[in-house]
Each structure stands twice: as C-alpha cells, then as structure tokens.
C-alpha cells in the first residue's frame, strides 16, 4: 500500500512537471498574440533529448557525468516528500521542509560545480550568478516557511498542511498573506523566471541558469531539464499547499484522491497563470537589482512573523 502511494505520487510528479512548463509557455504566447507551441511540447522536447547522442567536453571530470543524476534524483526525492493531493505522504517523515530545501540545494551545488567543470567561461558565469541569487533568496524562503511552520508547530509538511486545513480562517490572516507574497517572489527567483532570469534566452549577458547547462546535451540535458521542471513543481506545490491547502485529502481513498487531484490541478493552473502574468508584464531586471527584489521578499516574510506584534 505504502509502495503504491509512493509510486502514484512519483508518476504524478514526473508527468505533471513538464506540463507546467507547457502551460506557462502557452500562456505567455497567448498573451503575446502568438499561437505558441502545443501544451505537450515539453514532453516532445524531453523525448527528443533522451534519444539524442551526447558531446562531453574533454576537460570534464566524473562530476560532469554524475551531476545530472544527482540533480534529477534529488528533485524526484523531494517531490515524493511533499503532500500534493493528499496529506498521507509516507515519505514525509524522511524529512520536513528544511530537508526539502537542503536537498534542492544539494542538486544545485552539483549543477553549479559541473558548470565549472568544462573550463568554459559561460559555465563559470552562470554558476556564480546562480549561487548568488540562490544565496540571497534563501533567507526570505526560510523565513516565510518558518512563519507557517511556527503556526503549525511542525516542520513536517503533512502536519503543516493538516494544521492549516483545520484553521482555514488563517487564510485571511495578514501574516499568512505576507508570507505567501514573500514566497511567491522567491518562487520567481528560484525557478529562474522573469524578472530574475529568462528561461527562454541564450544571451551570455543575461542568462543565469541556462549558462550553467550550456555544455550539456542529450540524455544528460534531458535529466537536468526534467529536474528543473520537478523543482518548479515542488516549489509551486509548497506555495499552493502549505498556504492554501484547500481540497488536499487526508486519507487514501479514491474519492479523496480525485477531489485532491482536481483541486491541486486548479490551484497549480491559477499559480501558473500568475507566473505568466508576472513574466509578461515585467522586463528582466539587471542582475544587481535582483537583491532589491529579494530583500522585499525578506522584509515581507519578516513582517509576516512580526505581524502578531503589529496587528
């Protein structure tokens, strides 16, 4: 039974992750009066990459070859540890929200190392920028999650969701809303969206994440792209489920799973729409303006925690 639960969540995460990218791309295209690629395009891309051959730099070491696996597996592990459609997540006891964030950091650590491995200046540039943005996003992310975890009295994500579900009046609590806003900014930064990074560009002056992957090809690239999509799904799930756990089932019955799934998809769709709006209505920020944006997130999260003293 437990195994089945884990497998179900794994399949859901693996299948859903690329779809979110497709949704966001389609949404952006529509807002820009383009028809855009189909929703399933990210799947075709992945399949194509899996089948392609690879070119690996002769300067690269074993770290370059191991990294895609570490990146993919940490992202997949994390997606098994968070509640998506039900709070009955057997693996949530392997680690709470702090472990989730640190496992993602482990994946990033290796991707940033691999970027330096090929002796390409682009890789170094991307690696340096990615670690910088991640570092300054981290305190805001932790603080906003702390504010929810403290209310719930737990860092176990299933417990957090259960506790928030029981106190639905919390949704209008100013602290809750402030923490949500902070986390949304962090989501934009962590998933490399405009205005922090542009996932659609390959211009050396502006790219952050893509610069790190420049030397990757074939199935290595497929693994990393999939990992990135999974990470995006995980962060979006955290955002929708720990702040607004409406519809998240508590048991493991077909009915609760179905409602959970529908609610989950609807919430993700809304969030993706918000991301589309932000991406379309903003220009990319200069790299050195990004800290300002993230300090806004930090202040918001801090206010969220201090809100019991203020309001």
């Amino acid at each position: 039974m437990t195994l089945f639960q884990v497998l179900l969540q794994m399949v859901l995460a693996l299948v859903l992750a690329p779809l979110i990218n497709g949704l966001i791309r389609k949404g952006k295209a529509l807002l820009q009066n383009r028809r855009g690629p189909g929703l399933l395009q990210p799947y075709y891309d992945l399949l194509k990459l899996w089948r392609k051959g690879t070119v690996v730099s002769r300067h690269a070491s074993w770290i370059f070859r191991v990294t895609p696996y570490i990146s993919f597996l940490t992202a997949l592990m994390v997606s098994l540890m968070i509640p998506m459609i039900t709070t009955a997540v057997p693996l949530s006891f392997f680690g709470g929200v702090i472990a989730v964030i640190y496992l993602l950091a482990l994946g990033r650590f290796f991707v940033a190392l691999a970027a330096l491995d090929t002796a390409s200046a682009f890789g170094g540039m991307g690696s340096s920028r990615e670690m910088t943005v991640a570092a300054i996003a981290e305190p805001a992310m932790m603080l906003s999650i702390f504010s929810v975890a403290i209310t719930a009295g737990s860092t176990n994500l299933s417990q957090v969701v259960k506790s928030t579900l029981q106190h639905q009046e919390q949704f209008l609590n100013p602290g809750h809303i402030l923490a949500f806003a902070a986390m949304f900014i962090v989501l934009i930064a962590e998933t490399g969206r405009i205005p922090v990074d542009n996932p659609a560009t390959h211009l050396e002056l502006t790219m952050i994440h893509e610069a790190m992957l420049l030397e990757y090809s074939g199935h290595y690239l497929a693994l990393i792209e999939w990992a990135v999509a999974l990470k995006q799904l995980v962060l979006m799930t955290l955002l929708v489920n720990i702040f607004f756990p409406v519809g998240v089932g508590s048991g493991f019955t077909a009915a609760s799973l179905a409602t959970g799934l529908i609610a989950f998809l609807a919430k993700l769709l809304l969030l993706a729409l918000a991301v589309v709006l932000v991406e379309t209505s903003n220009a990319k920020l200069r790299l050195f303006r990004v800290p300002e944006l993230l300090s806004v997130a930090f202040i918001l999260a801090l206010l969220a925690l201090a809100s019991p003293f203020i309001f």
Binding site: S61, F122, S127, M131, A134, Q159, L305
Partner: protein, 683 residues
C-alpha cells in the same frame, strides 16, 4: 586485568604517549625520519587511547580521576578528572588528533633536511597534550596553565616557517591576542574565586547566584572576551585568518578543528556549569554574536583566494553556528524550557564535533594540494581532480558536509539548530522571540553562502584547466595522507548517516549540565529517524534519504538503457566561441566568481580597486594594464588601529617619566611609599 579496569588507565596512557613521544622526537632531531616515525606513532597511539577513554566514559560513566604531578601549592593542583563535558571534548581532540597524526607521516616528508622536523613533531605532540589537559583539568589554575602552554606551543608551530615574514607577523598577532584573552580569563576566574575561595571546579558549580549583579556581568564579559578570542568570535577574530594559514597544514587542521573549540569548551563550562542561572540577555548576546559571526565569517571567506585562509574564515563561520546553538540553549534555560535547552545544546555540541571532522578533512585536503603544487593561491590551481583524484574526492566530501547539505554530518547539526530556533519562537511570549526566526534566516543565508563559497573552492581548485605549471605537474598525495583524509571522510559520512547512534553519547553531557536526557526523544522509527523532540514537530532520516536515492537510481538508468544507449556519445572540445583553442586564461577565476556577491555586500566589504593603464599612441592601444582589487579589513581599521594608536600615544606620554636618572627613580619610590602609607592610614 579486565577490560573494565584497563579503560581507567587509558587517559593516563594517552597523556603519557603524547609526552613521551614529544621527548623522543626532540631527542631524535638529528634524524628527521626517525623523529617523524616515533613522534607521530606516539601521537596516534595517544589519540586512539584518548578516543577509547572518552567513549568508554561517555557510554559507561566510569570516571578516571588522578593527579598528574604532586601539588606545588595548595591552590595549584595538577589533578585530572573527566566529566561528561570534558570527555566529549577529549573525544573531539583525540579523533582529530588520530587522523592528523597519520596524515602527518606523509606531510612532513617535505621538510626533511630543510627544517627541524624533530621540533615540529615534538611541539605537535605537546600541543595535543596541552589541549587534552585543558579539557581534563579539574581546577581553574591548572586549566589556565594548560591554556597558556597550548598558546605557547601553537605560537611555536605558527612561526615554524619563520623565514616568511608573514608567519612571523601572524605569530606575533596570535601571541598578543592570545594573551589579552588569558588576561581576561585570569580576571574572570579571580572573580569566581572570591565566592568560596576555591579554584576547584567542584566548588564552582552553580555559583552564579552568589555573585552580585555587577560582578556577574563583569564575569560574563571577561569570559566571553577571553574565550571568544580563542574561538575567533568576530570582532575578536583577527588573529585567526592570519595564524591558521601560515602554520604547517597538519597544525592548521588541528588549530581550526580543535584549538578554537577550547573557547567553546570554556564557554560551555563557565556559562552552563558555573555562572548559572544565566540571564536572558546573555543568551541573546551569544545568539546574536553567533549569527553575526556566522554571516561575516562566510562573507569574508567568499572573497578569499588563499585556500587555507578561506578555510580559516569558515572556521569563524562555524564557530558562529555553534554559538547560535549555545546562545539559544542559554535563552531556553532562562525561559525554563529544559528540553529545548538540551536540544539546542546538543545541536551546538554536535556541530562542534562535526566541524572538527569536516574542517579537519578540508584542511588536510588543502595541505595535500599545497604539498602537490606548492601554492595556496586558488587562481594558480585548477584541474587537480585529474592529478589528485582521491584528494579531490575527499575535499568534495568535506565541502558538501560543511555546506550543510544532506546526507552528511553538517546537515544534521544545522537541522538540529534550525529546529531549536524554530521552536524557540513558541517558547515565550516576549518580543525577544523574534530573534529565533531571524537567527534561522541568517543561518539559511550563511548556509547558502557557504555552498557558494565551496562551489568556488572546489570548482576553481580542482575542476577545469590547470592555471599554472605547478598545477599541471601536481601529483597525488602519499598513502598516509590519503589514509588520514579517509578517516575523517568516513567520520563525516558516519556522523551524517547515523546521528542516532552517536547522540546517546551526548546524554551524560546534557544530564550533567541541564539534568535532561533527550536522546530517547530525539530518536524514533526504530533508530532510523531523528526528530526534534517529537515526530510531529519534525523529523529527518538521513539513512532514509540515502536509501531513497539508491532506490530511485534504477529509474534514470533504465531510461538511459531504453532511449540513450544507442545514441552517439562523443568526447570533444568545450565550446570556445569559434576560437582556436580554449586556454586556462579564458576560464572563470575565483575573483570573478565572487564578484556578484562582492558587489551586493559592498557595504560590508568596501571594495577598492585601482586600474593603471599605459597607452601607446592613443587611448585605444594599451601597452600594459595594472589592476588591483582590495577589500577593506574593516575590523582592523575601525577597532584595532585606533586602539593601537591610543596605546602608543599613551606609552609615549608615559615615557616622559622614564628619565634615566637614578635619583629621579628613587624619588618616585619614595613618593609611592608615602602615598601607600597615607592610604593605609586613612582606610
């Protein structure tokens, strides 16, 4: 003699092994090979005995107590008594001493015939001896004597390569700072002495309440400064990044791994054992100081390109993280939350042990790099993963551990710290509780910056192309060095994957200081899960994560088999934008890597740069460019230099009294005598 009785003799064996092998290596100075063999063998035998002794004590509680030398005066007793706290720190020093001694066989070969190896080995042993004595001493005078000896031996080792002016300067700085610290400690212990006229620890337990408020506050500050200097707490840290890198690497590893922990030991001993109950403000001060220390330490590490200096700054960072645990624990004691206090203390102590392991490992790795290339400058390294594959692997392991990434040991202790801080918010209602989540956020920032710093350190040093001929000609370290690193690497993995097996050994410590045994509450799921007091509040399972990783591994491998196996897999050049060939000059440098963070935190760094260009004909034809980039040593500039100047100015004005004429001096003596007599009269 049964094993039971034998265990009691282990600690004396360990101490005598250090002492005898030190004497042996001094005697064998003329035969460096023999000196190294005798000295380091004695060192690792002593360290092994020390490990065994402290483990036996922590698990069974049979306390060895004995007197080392006959008492010189009633106050000075050279008596030794292990208590749980002392045993834990003895374990830290012995574990690290064991790995470093083995490593040192190979490391000191480079000094044969060049330097006096006998004295290096001898003082290394004496340093281990003095450090162990600090932890085991059972009275304040003995502790101070051992403390002073440790400072002296460490000084000798810092200036071991005294032909470099840098080492002499660092040695002096260390010497001066260390004595300011000792001065504070002497004053502090004298304050405690006044309470019941004893320096013995058993008479000093819980005497905080008997001191008047002003004396207590004075004692707090004296001890904080005194121990803080040794621990390298910012702004008392300036000696640390100067002294640690210039010492021979085996000594640097010992200094960063253990010596600075004597400061932590002192703080725990005095603040948790003697000056109890602590006021809230003390915990708050230590927590705030720890957070700042952690953040500033990692920020300064980021802009460092000297591999060993970078690691030294990370020691400051980790001392900060340890202090966060201790500070939170003291606050919980004031809030009457004994279980939380024990959790925070365990977090701090576990990080102390973990830091000793991964920092020792990283220093040993840096030593292997130095041994192979002769340089500590990262900008001249690169590509070493091909030439030193094992060193690179161990260094990477240490880097992952120190960045607090799962599943290694740094993650476990940082997780415990997070949990203590998080639950602190609910422990009280006063607004002071905001410090806990802010501390947590700063810890998150510190962790992420540390990860950035170690991507830089590993990436620039070991990956891509070699940046100098030294790096091209590098060779793998000898086997003894690899074995030393492997020992610590194994410790990092074991302490990360199986904290549940180790944490019960901390129970006697928390029992002694806080009357709490919390490992039963921390361990759940048949010993596979680590909780923060209860499963509902949060749990992790590092073995579970590792198992899950392995269980999921077949998935991408299967996909590879199905789709990618038949593809064409080539090894070719890195994309070089159509140029002829990629050279090492085109790589990203360490300076460039930290540039974005240098700009973001420029309020702290205050970077300066100077560019000087020589032109031929016009501005467009540059002949040569000279580029300099510095960051301002803020603390030296803002605190130490003004103080230094003021002292010098004062000394100059006092010098007028020193006329050189004998009659004037006799006159001074006469006046002083008169004043003293008058004062005595009026009293």
């Amino acid at each position: 003699m049964g094993l039971e009785q034998f265990a009691v003799h282990l600690l004396p064996i360990s101490l005598w092994a250090y002492a005898v092998s030190a004497m042996a290596s001094f005697a064998l100075t003329r035969f460096p090979r023999m000196a190294s063999l005798a000295g380091f063998s004695g060192a690792w035998i002593g360290a092994l005995a020390g490990c065994w002794a402290s483990f036996t004590f922590l698990s069974r509680g049979t306390s060895p107590a004995f007197t080392l030398l006959p008492a010189a005066t009633p106050l000075v007793r050279f008596s030794i008594q292990l208590d749980p706290l002392a045993a834990f720190f003895t374990l830290v020093v012995s574990l690290l001493g064991l790995a470093i001694s083995i490593y040192s066989y190979g490391y000191v070969t480079q000094y044969y015939g060049v330097k006096n190896v006998g004295s290096l080995v001898g003082f290394f042993n004496l340093l281990l001896l003095a450090t162990t004595l600090i932890f085991c001493a059972d009275n304040a005078v003995f502790l101070l004597i051992a403390w002073e000896l440790m400072a002296l031996f460490a000084f000798v080792l810092v200036v071991f390569e005294h032909e470099h002016p840098e080492a002499r300067r660092a040695g002096m700085l260390y010497f001066v700072m260390s004595h300011i610290g000792v001065g504070c400690l002497i004053l502090g212990f004298l304050l405690l002495f006044q309470v019941n006229g004893s320096f013995r620890f058993e008479d000093l337990h819980n005497i905080g309440a008997q001191l008047s408020l002003s004396r207590r506050t004075a004692a707090f500050f004296l001890f904080f400064v005194g121990f803080g200097i040794k621990a390298g707490v910012i702004p008392l840290h300036i000696w640390l990044p100067a002294a640690h890198p210039v010492a021979p690497t085996n000594v640097s590893a010992l200094m960063s791994g253990v010596l600075i922990k004597t400061g932590i030991y002192g703080m725990v001993r005095v603040f948790f054992d003697f000056l109890t109950p602590p006021p809230v403000s003390l915990g708050l001060l230590i927590l705030a100081a720890g957070s700042m220390c952690a953040l500033l330490g990692v920020l300064y590490a980021l802009v460092e390109h000297d591999l060993k200096r970078l690691l030294a700054f990370h020691s400051i960072e980790n001392i900060g993280i340890i202090l966060m645990g201790l500070g939170a624990s003291l606050m919980f004691i004031s809030f009457h939350q004994p279980a939380l206090a024990a959790l925070a203390l365990v977090a701090g102590l576990y990080h102390t042990l973990n830091h000793a392991c991964f920092k020792g490992l990283l220093f040993l790795g840096a030593g292997a790099v130095l041994h192979a290339t002769g340089t500590r400058n990262m900008e001249a390294l690169g590509g070493l993963i091909r030439r030193l594959p094992w060193t690179a692997f161990f260094f990477l392991l240490g880097a992952v551990a120190i960045s607090g990434l799962p599943p290694l040991n740094g993650f476990v202790s940082e997780w415990l710290t997070y949990q203590a801080l998080l639950q602190g918010f609910g422990a009280t209602q006063v607004a002071v509780r905001l410090i806990f989540p802010i501390g947590g956020a700063l810890l998150a920032l510190t962790g992420a910056l540390a990860a950035a710093c170690f991507v830089k350190a590993v990436g620039i040093t070991f990956l891509s192309l070699p940046r100098s001929p030294h790096a091209e000609r590098a060779h793998e370290a000898p086997r003894s060095m690899l074995f030393g690193m492997a020992t610590l690497g194994l410790a990092c993995v074991a302490l990360g994957l199986f904290p549940m097996a180790f944490l019960p050994f901390l129970d006697p410590v928390t029992q002694e200081l806080l009357q709490q045994e919390i490992s039963p509450q921390l361990i759940a799921g048949n010993g596979w899960m680590l909780t923060s007091l209860s499963v509902e509040r949060g749990a992790i399972s590092t073995p579970g994560m590792a198992a899950l990783f392995l269980a999921l591994l077949p998935l991408p491998l299967a996909l590879w088999l199905v789709f990618a196996r038949r593809g064409r897999h080539r090894v070719d050049e890195t994309w070089d934008c159509g140029l002829d060939r990629l050279t090492s000059q085109m790589e990203y440098t360490a300076t460039a890597y930290s540039k974005p963070l240098r700009m973001i935190f420029q309020a702290i760094y205050r970077p300066r740069r100077r560019i000087q260009a020589d032109f031929a004909v016009s501005r467009y034809f540059t002949k040569s460019i000279h580029f300099e980039s510095h960051i301002e040593p803020t603390f030296e500039q803002l605190i130490y230099r003004p103080v230094n100047r003021a002292i010098l100015r004062f000394s100059r004005s006092v010098r007028r009294v020193q006329t050189g004429s004998l009659s004037a001096y006799l006159f001074y003596i006469f006046v002083t005598l008169l004043i003293l007599l008058l004062w005595e009269r009026t009293r």
